[in-house]
């Protein structure tokens, strides 16, 4: 049983740490993109370790640790254990930390061949054969989805932590968000293939609002019915290969675990 989040008690500020594993930096950048709230957040939390933002680095333990990125090297597998032991409440931010990210495509391929394709001297490169989420290595207290995460959801997680409550992050599908936003269904109205019915909400249903189908960057939602969706995708012009690729991109490893996923 992990320690429960510590409510802000008006006394010493809780400490925040941000860590990066294999990733693009985009999810921790989301924190710096909270322009209106950044200084307020810094007022409520003591930012003790956030290399992208400050040279001031203080040792743990940390009350709240945000971890971006997946585990792809032996060194990071060790590092994530150290982070866990220094963190009272550990939140993974984004598809890499939560589902292995796009680099988990190696899980379905021959990493030796990958390494030789990119590097002339593959022997210089230390890498694991898989890209795995943080939860495959250590217990995680909360997982925030998305490639990248949504700014509003990140602020909700931080606010909930400070208030000592569970974050309000619904796990229903993107379809709910389209309805709420008033977006006409791109599949029903235009026959555009869309992963929205099987994808975790959180982005605000952006893609359909811009006239394209959802491409699943938040990973599978709580209740996924792929056998019902795949025939619709085929009807709207996708080949078997197209369907396989669509499900094997930003959250390849988590979609692959869903019942009915193409092998």
């Amino acid at each position: 049983m992990r320690p429960q989040p510590v409510p802000y008690d008006g006394g010493a500020r809780p400490t925040l740490a941000v860590f990066k594993l294999a990733s693009c930096d985009g999810c921790q950048l989301t924190l710096l993109d909270c322009e209106d709230q950044l200084l307020a957040v810094a007022g409520r939390l003591d930012i003790s370790h956030f290399l992208e933002a400050s040279s001031a680095v203080r040792p743990g333990p940390y009350d709240l640790a945000l971890v971006e990125g997946s585990v792809t090297t032996p060194a990071d597998a060790e590092r994530v254990r150290e982070i866990r032991s220094a963190a009272r409440f550990l939140v993974t931010i984004g598809a890499c930390a939560t589902a292995g990210g796009i680099q988990a495509l190696r899980n379905f391929a021959d990493v030796e061949e990958f390494r030789a394709t990119v590097y002339a001297r593959p022997d210089y490169i230390a890498t694991l054969t898989t890209s795995t989420p943080v939860s495959a290595h250590v217990p995680v207290d909360f997982e925030l989805r998305g490639c990248p995460i949504d700014r509003g959801q990140l602020l909700e997680v931080i606010t909930a932590f400070l208030a000592g409550r569970k974050p309000d992050v619904p796990n229903h599908s993107v379809c709910f968000a389209c309805k709420r936003r008033g977006t006409v269904c791109v599949t029903v109205a235009h026959g555009t293939p869309c992963l929205g019915p099987v994808t975790h909400a959180g982005c605000g249903a952006i893609c359909p609002a811009y006239g394209r189908g959802c491409y699943g960057c938040f990973g599978p939602s709580a209740s996924v019915n792929l056998p019902a969706l795949i025939p619709l995708l085929r009807r709207d012009g996708m080949s078997d290969d197209d369907v396989r690729r669509a499900l094997r991109t930003y959250n390849a490893a988590s979609f692959a675990e869903v019942e009915g996923a193409p092998s």
């Binding site: 990066k20 985009g26 200084l39 290399l51 061949e113 394709t117 490169i125 960057c217």
Partner: protein
Amino acid sequence: MTHRGSRVLHVGSLARVEGEGALHLTVDGGTVSGAELRIYEPPRFFEAFLRGRSYTEPPDITARVCGICPVAYQMSACRALEDACGVTVDGQRAALRRLLYCGEWIESQVLHIYLLHAPDFLGVDGAVELARTQRAHVERGLRIKQAGNAILEQLGGRAIHPVNVRLGGFHRAPTCGELKPLAERLRRARDDAWETVRWVAGFDFPDAGLDHALLALAEPGRYAIDSGTPTVMAAPGSCGVSAGTPASLPIRQFPVYAFSDETTEHQVPYSTALQATLGGERYLTGAMARFAISGRWLSPLAQEAAREGGLGDPLAGAVCRNPFRSIVVRAVEALYAIDEALRIIDAYEPPDRPYVDVRPRAGTGHGATEAPRGLLYHRYTLDADGIVTAATLVPPTSQNQGAMEEDLRRLVQDRLDAGEQDTDAELTALCERGIRNHDPCISCSAHFLDLTVDHVRRSPPCP
């Protein structure tokens, strides 16, 4: 402490860069004998897993290389794939692309200026610490950054990994009514950007000069961002001009498709990022290269800011070769990007269709655009069905690695030659600043940056 003796400096991690890596300096009897920028990025193998994907996918997929400059990846990918398919995007669709790119330039350059670089000049650990004493400055930076993000969010759907870009243009083109409200915010940001130029121009800049060749895209009539021809300004050393000269030097151009012939990527044992050279020589790409090569095409307002900021007259071929002053160049570029975004919005008329059709064909395409940190090159080979069979990405930071290492070597060597009795901490801090001068986007290729200076233990010379 003696500089002839031996000592080892170690800094666990370099802060305020995008991504993480390491630096290894070897000092041997008062001479810096080696400077290695070690990039420990866990490899993510984009070039390998892009094979077998459809030609429509690389703009979204390669955006995930970098959360700081996803638009740059989307734009270079689109240009390369459209080149492969024989399609040109022009008119308002091209203008919208440039507008989106301006949003990223504003956001990214201001992020570097205020949150990553300025703290070096003001002796604080970061922008949050800076806000305790100079809150108005930090708030101004956040306001400009927010204006850049507003463009990305309106036109791209979101600021990081925007969703609206596709081959041939956009999934949906904005209405005039959607773009116009951005203008008011951008006009305020333009004033803030002017203030930024004045603010950073007043910083105290250490003496330094770089003598690398400079590489940037150039196109007549405008400051190259989303298109242009690779253009090389010769290194001062090759022309008998000293490193610190403000003069422009001879330039030459080569077509984008010759990029792989002109540059060589090679691997070093201490880095997971490939390093590039141009004709066997190290070179620098990024804001300083762009300003040297295309400064005359800045808007009149940005040119005025450059003069007022002490960079010289761009119309007279001003060149800035002090890497510490790159913060002023970035501030001028941010002002230009705002000015340019306003110009595009003012002239905007929705295109008849948001995109032109791009049909696949077998062949190879090349694309280069100016990411905030420098030239970003993509190459794709497609089969007749439009499946990617080979992909090459050359990010700016791997091109700049050799130049950054040389800058660090020179910074430390100059201190040693001057007989300065720097402490380890002072030298280390100087090296970290030397790295930040180039705004490396190590997350394009990096994981953990720490700094080690080895002073090689040698027997004292015979008396």
